[in-house]
Each structure stands twice: as C-alpha cells, then as structure tokens.
Symmetry: C2
Subunit: 129 residues, 2 copies
C-alpha cells in the first residue's frame, strides 16, 4: 500500500477516562503495540474525550513527524455512537486538513473475529479463586 519511504503511522484511539491510570493503560498499550509492530512505524495514542491528546491533535503531530499514511484503530468494545459517528467525523476533518495524507480506519476493536478465542483462553486461566 505504501509507495514511498515515509513512515507509516498508527493511532490507537481510545475513549478516555477521568481516571488517570486508565489513560496510562492506553499509553502503555500503544507502547506495546509499537513493540509488536517493530521498527518503521510511528505509533501514538489519543482520546476521544476526557483526556489528552485529542485524536485531531495526535493526527496532526503524526503528520508533522512525517507520516503520509495513518491507520487509526478505534479501541472500543462496541459500535456505539463514538465508533459510528464521532470518529468518522474526526477522520473526515483530518483528511481535509491533510489532503496529501492517507488516513484509514480499522474496524473497532470489539468486532475482531478472534475475540471469542481470546476470551476462551482467558477462561482457562482465572486470576482469583
């Protein structure tokens, strides 16, 4: 999909929380995602509301840092209004601000086909008795 040597970027977009630790979990997860993707990727995180950075701000930073292809991952369990309306509107506005940049969105996290298998694995290792 890439036709040049500019870095590919990933933006992990979460809801955001009033609880600092929850937001820090997202930041840490973005770091672990960067490790999973390996070198050559710019990985960032952002929040739809209640926390910073915002999704538009994070996209602008990635583009400023040289990204010409951004993949936004909506880190939401269900396809509510945030996934169906709010994030697409933010992406549409970002595309207008950055006409030379390809901005894509994955399906939301909760729709991934592999989740039942992952949940089944969790059941076999309960944490507390």
């Amino acid at each position: 999909m890439r036709t040049d040597n500019s870095p590919q970027a990933v933006l992990l977009a979460a809801h955001g929380s009033r609880v600092t630790e929850s937001n820090e979990e997202i930041e840490a997860l973005a770091g672990r995602l960067a490790a999973a993707l390996g070198p050559g990727w710019l990985v960032s995180h952002a929040f739809l509301e209640l926390a910073r950075p915002s999704i538009p701000d994070a996209i602008d930073v990635l583009v400023h840092d040289g990204a010409r292809h951004v993949v936004l991952v909506p880190y939401f369990l269900s396809a509510g209004r945030h996934v169906s309306t709010d994030i697409p509107a933010i992406v549409a506005a970002a595309r207008k601000r950055h006409p030379g940049v390809e901005i894509e969105t994955t399906g939301h996290f909760g729709a991934q086909e592999t989740l039942p298998k992952l949940l089944a694995a969790m059941v076999s290792t309960p944490a507390t008795g």
Copy 2:
C-alpha cells in the same frame, strides 16, 4: 480444577449501554464464546449497569441451572472502579449467596498479554480507505 460432573459456567460481564445494539453485541459475543469453548460449558452474559440481566441475576441463573464453578470474565478495557471495586463486591456477595459454588474472576479483558499482537494484526487490515 473440577472434581465433579456439574457443568462449568462462564459469565461474560460487560458494562452495559443505553444503546440496544451494543448490548446485543455482547450477547452475540457470548454465543461465539460458547462456540469457542465447545460443549460442556454454560455460557451467559450480564451487564454491570444500564442493561439486563444484571451480574447477580445471571450468576443466580447459572447456579440454578446446575453450575458449581463459575468463571466471570470482566469485559472491560481498563481497570477502573468497575473492575477494581464494583465487580469484586458483586462476586463477594454472590459467594455468600452460594457457599457451595466456586466463583472465580479472570483479569479484565484489557490486561490480556496478547492484545498488542491482536492490535498489530488489525493495523495490517484497515477497513476503510
């Protein structure tokens, strides 16, 4: 871990939403989890708030249906108050109601070690251009 022939039960415990479709996503996911676990498991779903069935009601139904070992899976992305306080209190109360039943809790969904790998796989298959 089982010492008898009673069915093992799994309860997928989600937050709950005012949006019906979001709650239906949870019900469907519980069905796919049941398929992933295979025969011999009772699989149910419940909501912490905003939707039915409640977590206590769902536990009571599983026990009524013969479960003597229930594994609750907190389907939450971050370890906020719901995960750290609300669900443990519900589980403690359920254990008092059902002293002959083993009720366990897995870690919350967002803490699973495999999530970064799953997110990395999502990045390689964006849904929209």
